[in-house]
Amino acid sequence: MKAFTYDRVTSAEEALAAGAGASFVAGGTNLLDHMKLQIVTPDRLVDLNRAGMDAIEPTAEGGLRIGALVRNSDLAADSRIIADYAVLARAILAGASGQIRNRATTAGNLMQRTRCPYFYDTALACNKREPGSGCSAQDGHSRTLAVIGTSELCLCQNPGDMAVALRVLDAVVEVASPAGATRTIPIAEFHQLPGDSLPVREFALEKGELITAVVLPPPAGGTHYYRKVRDRSSYAFALVSVAAVIQPDGIGRIALGGVAPRPWASDDADAAIPQGAKAVAAALFEGARPQEDNAFKIDLATRTIAAVLAEAKEARA
């Protein structure tokens, strides 16, 4: 861990004023690991833990505005979330451990970085860690990595659970800039695909921007599912996960985790839900470029979608 300066701020405004070049830290459940491993070496940390932004409030539209600093445990336990956005509560509880969820925040969860082994070993090439150094994951140990949305530059998977649920809920990320402007980014566009040019961008944030909240639209109704497949029962990243909201008439929304650099969903796939898992998967994985190690994820995702649709069908019967 390199020496760094550390400032505490007590509001979003103060945080933004702290300026570009600083790294924001809240729960620290991902960033501090990376600093210890020297994957990132920020010169300056701005601690947001006393900056407010920790409320869950109703919006005028009938949705909920989740403050950036709301802890994952608190969000998953909120009665409004459990009642109207159950997929979100379930996704959060499928991730990490109780201790980590107690610290981790809503915005921090969105910002968690890939679990690619080549990102973690600083002796090996990684375009994410060191732009232009290359991507060791190509033809490497890619079992946990993405099968679609990748490029020659990067095979990273988004390891999160929460964002996959936010994707089927059509959440919006609210962002403030140092200049005082606010803007919103649809969750579908928040995580970036690596594309064909450097640097490999991960998030749709501009320098110095700060996530202030995540906004949920009014409840979508339906029955909510979050099915996470992993080698062990807990405390593991998804090989594949499926978030779904299925309506009484059998239509609905589906997003996948663990298969792409972002939660993976499409309108075509949603439209195919009545035709079953194979049709949904075919739409989702069009253009997939799996590696030898992770090609199974396409079959596994198809089977997991089938499991969710079967459960939904049973629930409707």
């Binding site: 861990m1 390199k2 020496a3 210890k36 491993l37 020297q38 679990r115 082994p117 080549y118 973690y120 070993d121 600083t122 002796a123 090996l124 060791s136 033809d139 490497g140 140990h141 079992r143 946990t144 099915r227 497949v229 992993r230 080698d231 062990r232 029962s233 807990s234 405390y235 593991a236 990243f237 090989l239 079953g276 898992a277 194979k278 199974f296 079959d299 596994l300 198809t302 089977r303 997991t304 089938a306 499991a307 079967a310």
Partner: protein
Amino acid sequence: MKFDAPMGDTPIDTGRVVGRPHARVDGPLKTTGRATYAAEWHDGLPGLLHGFIIPATIAKGTVTAIDTADAKGAAGVVDVLTFEDFDINGTANGKTVKLVGGPQVQHYHQALGLVIAETFEAARAAADLVNVDYEAEAGAFSLDGVRADAKVCGAFGGPGETRLGDFEAAFEAAEVQFDEEYRTAAHSPAMIEPFASIAQWEGDGLTLWTANQMIATTVGSMASMLQIDESRVHVLSPYIGGGFGAKLWAHADAILAALAARKTGHPVKVVMPRGLIFNNTINRPETIQRLRIGTRADGTIEAFGHEGWSGNVEGGNPESTVLSSRSVYAGPNRLMADHMGHLDLPEGNAMRAPGDAVGSIAVEIAMDELAEKLGLDPIDFRVMNDSQVDPSQPKKTFSNRHLVRCLQDGAERFGWSERQAPGTRREGKWLVGMGVATAYRAALRSTSGAAVRLETNGRVTVETDMTDIGTGSYTILAQTAGEMLGVPVDRVDVRLGDSAFPKSSGSGGQWGASSSTSGLYVACVNLRREIAQRLSLDAERAEFDDGEVRSGNRVCSLLDAVAEGPLSAEGSIDFGQSDTHAFGTFGAHFVEVGVDSYTGEVRVRRMLAVCSAGRILNPVSARSQVIGAMTMGVGAALSEKLVVDERYGCFINHDLALYEVPVHADIPHQDVVFLDDVDPYGNPMKAHGVGELGLCGVGGAIANAVYNATGHRLRKVPMVVEDIIAGLPDPV
């Protein structure tokens, strides 16, 4: 005492203290954070400096330049030492590669030097500033790639190939022939406590606080590597957060701490970061195993062939996959052989139940497959091929072999008769299956000594360099002394892991429990003699109970014996080779799994182990050993795999996020049953250890349960979802 005849009655047989379920005597210290582990001896060490290991980032080649200037100039850095600054003689006892490499690099993450700084953080940050240039060489990293050139090779001084009868002819002539290959992945010990050492010099004497299973071996290693006399080395390791074999030897943390402390004149602490443990230290190597078994039509084994292939560094040991096959199932014609190919991966070495942990997986799957081929119940097939003599040395009878009882008793308890045909039992989306496997692990015995003292206040002090790696040594030693001297456990103070104390067996190979308590038994016999003499009682007839010594109609208090000062005695046990008996521990594992018919996830539902290992010294700590081992077996069967990246010659998943050990949620109800038996031929305690027995066979039982659930046979572990779904019908 030389133990060479079966043990008669002893005070241990009264079972007032030994054999009772005493809670760990060191438990309160551990649960309140007062047990001092290797990295925690800060107090009394002013000027303590921190070292951070500089690891090699190639697998094979030569260091052409190492630039430490930036690191030396970094804030808080005291010095940066590299291999060029050291003169290390050889390596640690039991290790093959050097603890510090350079200029020749022998494996990825081999230590090349140490950054020494005022804080851990400063040392870590500066280690990143050391620039190393290499001339890399191509290496061999694939077991498949070196298999054809692998040579027959024995492990740890044992034979490479053993034969009995004419295996090939008998296999060829067998009415039923079975021939399959199996694969097991490489494993990391992944214990909770990382390797850690603090070294301090006073004059030419070294004190080393470290995490180590074998104190005397480590004294020898340090003295030899540093070229000083063993009398100048004091090693302390009273509390150890797991070892699983990896702490049988000194590692880079120990030698680098010692060298850095000598160079700087300060005490130096070196903790190995989690990410280095996988490639810097040791692993259980990947194996390929071939099982050829020929039987009569009725299932009687006529020919048993087991061959294993593994890779290791030049001069290392193969994984001794065939070790237990020599002793488990009957069959007059036998071939057992281990082969080793040269690999440039990190060193493979003895991890918990070396050889047997993975050898038993292949054998027990094969036995399951063959039972099905023969139309026999897998338990019946194992029972009919039991042997009361060692099948490879038929002149030796097992001193205590109750495998059949373990299998049959377990079958009854587990509800084995409910087991259905493969792929036919379904509960909702779950495919449910049961599996069984034999557990066998040799009952090794090793020279062990102890000192025991009756203090003037009536308390008893035990001192031995024995270690407690989480196994319960403190407790069973307290029980042994308590039984022998007639005092309750809470009046016995056990002091372990200090090279100033008498040499013990140390912990490993599940020999520690029986050997160390036997050594203490001898010391207690000697102390009883001292006490009786002081009280003018007949030592042979005296009964020690409840703080009193009774003989005939005389009753004395123990305190009377120490009115003029404490009494102490030492003792040691030695074991000869037996020409007539073989010593083993036996058991049967039963497992029920559910397999998700959609996703292929395997979830263990119930586990049972029935064990026979002579007297169980403490059923609580023994149970802990077995359930911990069963848990490790779940890891081997379902998730643990060191993945080789052949481009870089390393285990690429070198953290606990990608090397997945089981979590609590993976471990359901576990039952452990110990048969009520004693083994007077084994040692004075008539007891054997169970810490490795509990692991042997578990992976096989799980694999067999998965097959029973799905009807799809897998011959490699871990069995991960992609392997499982490949054999499941399409659910869509």
